[in-house]
């Protein structure tokens, strides 16, 4: 049994599906079908109300506005009775981009990062392409440098820098143990990956430098890499999904476990992260 409530912080840039995962997680907890169960009712689920309503109507939720930061307390427990207070934050992904641009960590973020025992970093592989370079797509006749062109940082370098910032921030003042890490590869359905492909293999193929950084800085017990499709299919405002309307959003979506197996239990990443935190 944990003495203090377990705190988990969720990070991810814009459009990785943080709000949809949060809303679907609440649906699963209410349906009592997964590894985690609610301990009573959550005090306030207002932050996810809009997304929950949209999903019930078979359409995607609205983008979280840039200034938003709310935390929803989800009192849950694991199958063996370990009580966890899950602080599920909801904020716009632009705040993460802002951190990288400004290289300053606002005091509010500092507190959240310091308090967390475990981090979930949501990454949408289709939105962070590796791209080609002189090695993957050779060019026999290299020219002199392009003048005046801006050089864009590669997406995986930005993700590594984000983790480096978080590691520094979490420990700069406290010196406490580095939080356990869950990398959640979101919108897995977009990848059209064959069944059995493991999330670790997708991470290594799509973001090899990030994969190396994670495996060299978190021990095997303290890191997990999973896939997620919070809604199972792409939703469109123009054509509401009938399955969401008739079967219910709580029956949609799945997680890809470390061995590549699909599971409808969207609480699985949290349950596994809880184990990693306690290892």
């Amino acid at each position: 049994m944990l003495e203090a409530a377990l705190k988990i912080a969720v990070f991810g840039k814009s459009n990785v599906g943080k709000s949809h995962f949060g809303a679907q997680l609440i649906g699963r907890l209410n349906a009592e079908s997964g590894l985690l169960r609610m301990r009573g009712a959550a005090p306030d689920l207002g932050a996810f109300e809009e997304v929950v309503q949209s999903l019930s109507s078979g359409v995607p939720g609205a983008h979280t506005s840039a200034g938003t930061y709310t935390e929803t307390l989800l009192p849950v427990q694991t199958a063996d009775g370990t009580a966890i207070d899950l602080n599920w934050p909801d904020y716009a992904g632009e705040q993460v981009s802002q951190l990288l641009e400004d290289r300053r960590v606002p005091a509010s973020w500092q507190e959240r990062v310091e308090a967390a025992d475990g981090w979930i970093l949501m990454v949408r592989p289709r939105h962070v392409p590796l791209g080609n370079d002189i090695f993957s797509k050779p060019l026999s006749d290299l020219q002199a440098s392009r003048s005046g062109g801006a050089v864009e940082c590669s997406p995986q370098a930005r993700l590594v820098e984000l983790l480096q910032m978080l590691v520094y921030t979490s420990r700069a003042r406290t010196g406490k143990r580095k939080p356990a890490l869950a990398i959640l590869l979101s919108c897995w359905d977009e990848l059209e990956a064959p069944l059995g492909v493991t999330p670790a293999a997708v991470l290594r193929k799509n973001l090899p430098m990030l994969a190396d950084y994670v495996s060299n800085n978190w021990s095997e017990e303290r890191r997990i890499i999973l896939g997620l499709s919070a809604t199972g299919v792409a939703l469109s405002k123009a054509a509401p999904n009938q399955d969401f309307i008739y079967k219910g959003a709580e029956t949609m979506g799945w997680v890809v476990d470390a061995d590549g197996e699909h599971s409808p239990d969207l609480t699985l990443p949290i349950a596994k992260l809880a184990v990693a935190i306690q290892s």
Partner: protein, 298 residues
């Protein structure tokens, strides 16, 4: 996609700085860009940090060599047992490697010429590498070639202070032989310049590991010239290693390639003289990294 901060206009940076002054946010102790003299106070204290000096005249491929290593590590390609574990200068690496990538409108091109400016220290690019069971911090000096041309001729020249600093501080020295120049129209001048650089490095190395690195090795250099350079290196350096590198694949190599000789050279410079590095496995390697940037109670 946001642009690197490095490329923001100075006005944008100033405006953001002005706003930041009044809030209670915490500034991170590293900028992501190449480090300067003010950032390297830890060099003497961090026993596992290794400074790699790349000595070569302008346009000889020093920056491209660094960019190539970064791109390979970014693809998860490294020497056996060596992989990326972090960097305090990711933006700096991206700025030199970005030119070697394809983008929406361009194919790869050479990185821009490293400006000599008025600096007295080279820009330093940091890599934290996992090497078998331990960790190595490496700093790579990305210095303008003009410094080395001046330094070859006059060790204490005012405008060669950066080269002199690097020759004193580097743990591993790479001397660049530019295959293209040594096979080109001005090969006589290129040979003379390389020989004087070799002599200078030979006089200043003080027992440190040195490698002679033939860059752009896809360009064939005449046997007579190759022998002349080798003879000069034998005389000036005595003991040294020789590597031939190129970003272009060797004939018959798969299109998805790792160039030629790049991984072998990286492996050598990481492992050479390894006795100076701690052999024990670090339980929390990032603590050392954080100690480097300061202010951390590890």
């Amino acid at each position: 996609m946001q642009q690197c901060k490095y490329w923001q206009s100075s006005r944008e940076v100033l405006e953001k700085a002005a706003v930041a002054e009044i809030d209670d946010s915490a500034r991170l102790p590293w900028t992501g860009n190449a480090m300067g003299a003010g950032d390297i106070g830890f060099l003497g204290g961090a026993s596992r940090t290794r400074l790699v000096g790349v000595f070569g005249v302008a346009e000889s491929g020093k920056t491209s060599l660094l960019g190539a290593w970064y791109l390979l590590l970014g693809r998860g390609i490294g020497p056996k047992g060596i992989s990326f574990a972090g960097s305090l200068t990711l933006e700096g690496w991206e700025n030199i490697a970005g030119n070697l990538r394809w983008n929406a409108t361009h194919g790869p091109s050479f990185p821009p010429h490293t400006s000599s400016g008025a600096g007295r220290h080279p820009g330093l690019l940091h890599l934290d590498l996992q090497v078998d069971g331990g960790r190595h911090d490496l700093l790579f000096a990305d210095a303008p070639g003009e410094w080395f041309s001046r330094w070859s001729v006059r060790r204490d020249a005012e405008d060669a202070a950066g080269a002199a600093w690097l020759s004193g501080a580097a743990d591993v020295l790479l001397v660049i032989a530019d295959s293209k120049e040594l096979a080109g129209e001005r090969l006589g001048t290129a040979r003379a310049n390389l020989l004087s650089l070799l002599r200078r490095v030979g006089a200043e190395r003080h027992g440190r590991p040195v490698a002679l690195v033939w860059t752009k090795c896809d360009v064939a250099v005449g046997e007579q010239m190759r022998s002349a350079v080798k003879h000069a290196a034998d005389l000036a350096l005595g003991t040294y290693e020789t590597f031939s590198v190129s970003m272009h694949a060797a004939p018959g190599q798969e299109p998805y390639n790792c160039g030629q000789g790049l991984l072998e050279l990286l492996d050598w410079l990481v492992r050479v003289g390894d006795v100076t590095f701690p052999k024990t496995v670090l339980p929390n390697p990032e603590q050392d990294l954080l100690r480097i940037v300061g202010g951390v109670h590890a």
